[in-house]
Symmetry: C2
Subunit: 153 residues, 2 copies
């Protein structure tokens, strides 16, 4: 936590982050009302949170099932030999791979894949076998999908 960010993350800063995590399209004027500051002051605050890299962006959250992508899975992938680079190239452009983390342990990578049906899942897994050994777990439900970050309590 650097010096410059500390000033930003006071009571008001965390209130703004809470509101924008909940609804990123909240108008600045509404944010101003909630934190008890003028609209220009809040606009400046938000701009500085963005400039400091604390706010990385604003994203619409979509319902994947309603977009024809009802199946999600976790795939743990152990890479064979020295195939990291070709795999990363594949991961960067494969539309099914929604996230990919390099992790400790023998698994090497943890992937979140999102597909339209089991045939699509099969193709996705097969493609991964070119780089290593995948272990797949289909997502049955998601008791916790997203947790907002809270300030110091």
């Amino acid at each position: 936590m650097t010096l410059s960010t500390e000033r930003l993350l006071d009571e008001v800063g965390w209130q703004l982050l809470a509101a924008l995590q909940q609804d990123a399209r909240t108008p600045l004027s509404e944010l101003a009302r909630r934190v008890g500051l003028s609209a220009p002051a809040v606009a400046e605050r938000v701009r500085r949170l963005e400039d400091a890299g604390i706010i990385r962006g604003y994203r619409a959250e979509l319902d994947l099932a309603r977009l024809g992508l009802p199946l999600s899975a976790w795939i743990r992938l152990t890479i064979d030999g020295q195939r990291d680079e070709p795999f990363l190239k594949h991961a960067a452009q494969a539309p099914e791979i929604h996230s990919c983390d390099r992790v400790t342990g023998t698994d090497c990578f943890v992937l979140r894949v999102v597909v339209s049906d089991v045939a699509h899942l099969e193709r996705t897994i097969s493609a991964l076998k070119a780089y290593g050994s995948p272990i797949t777990s289909l997502v049955l439900s998601s008791p916790v999908t997203r947790r907002d970050v809270e300030g110091p309590r």
Copy 2:
């Protein structure tokens, strides 16, 4: 894919979803410019995407490391006996658990946890041992953090 959603997901609909995934705070007037429709028409389109549940909401994406949470981990949790319910209660309120999916296979649950340091990670894992056997993989880097959903190509 129901009948009502099909009408929404034409060329323009997907253009709107693409823009809002990229920057959820894009003004409606700007969206209108990009898709070549009037502002009221676009406002109506977006409202219908929301009402159909295709757009679930708008979220600010934060940099967790800059907020004092530099460590993330995947934890696979095999639940002992019939302790699903107490575990789900725990998961629903634990601030470290950012996502939790029930999955096929022996793992039962896949958790994304976000913590401030290794001591915090240790406490988080210890707490999980009340419900089952956790296997932890620390995230080293994230080659793919988020993939936008694209329409039919």
